[in-house]
């Protein structure tokens, strides 16, 4: 295995209801990645009050969004913020293994 690239952050709150995602984005250090899960996936919507904020973060960090949570919420077919990668639970496990630690924000 290569040197772990840094911290995998997870956020499970909607950016419209909670300050957790905004706080997490402000605390991403070098090599950190972010995985949006549960209500966190609403941040991936385009044309929202949060889209530009997430797009900016996507230019500096690897950003992932959990596919099953998009699908449950009716967002599977919609355009998403540029630079987001859709992953499944197997990928979530792989990402957790590849990063040094997992830091959950909620």
């Amino acid at each position: 295995m290569n040197t772990p690239p840094g911290v995998l952050h997870t956020v499970n709150k909607s950016p419209f209801a909670s300050a957790s995602l905004e706080s997490c984005l402000r605390h991403l250090s070098e090599g950190a990645s972010l995985l949006l899960i549960e209500d966190g996936v609403y941040a991936a919507l385009t044309g929202s009050a949060f889209s530009e904020r997430l797009a900016t973060a996507a230019r500096q960090h690897a950003l992932y969004v959990l596919g099953p949570d998009l699908e449950a919420r009716g967002l599977a077919g919609r355009p998403l913020v540029d630079g987001l990668q859709i992953v499944d639970y197997q990928d979530f496990v792989r990402l957790a293994a590849e990063h040094a630690t997992v830091h959950a924000w909620f």
Binding site: N12, E38, Y89, V93, T101, A104, F106
Partner: protein
């Protein structure tokens, strides 16, 4: 690689509970090992065997128990958090065991990755 999971939420309260279960199942389906699931805070409600959701609703308590019986996963309920909230031997679901917070710390020490699911 060894994984451990911390569950902070109860069933029908927050999706974090279901995410924890799905993550546990994904670890078991991978080349990695799941050494323990620790239930803390409102997570202790996952171990209440009196839960009986109606037809068409998921029984998360039973789903956890199944992980223990079929895959031998170690399911540990924090004794203090459980007593506070009314989850103890009298209503403990099969496959769970009650122990102290030391089991959470030990999981953090023994596992390569500890993942928290909370709200």
């Amino acid at each position: 690689m060894k994984f451990a999971i911390l569950v902070n939420t109860g069933p029908f309260s927050h999706q974090a509970t279901e995410s924890a279960l799905a993550f546990a199942q994904a670890v078991l389906a991978s080349e990695h090992e799941l050494i323990r699931v620790f239930f803390y805070f409102d997570g202790v409600h996952n171990a209440n065997r009196l839960a009986a959701p109606s037809n068409g609703e998921r029984n998360l308590v039973r789903a956890w128990s199944k992980l223990a019986s079929e895959r031998g996963v170690d399911l540990v309920v924090c004794i203090a958090a459980g007593l506070r909230r009314g989850v103890r031997e009298a209503n403990l679901a099969p496959g769970f065991r009650i122990s102290g917070l030391g089991q959470l710390v030990e999981a953090g020490i023994l596992a390569d990755r500890l993942i928290t699911f909370g709200a």
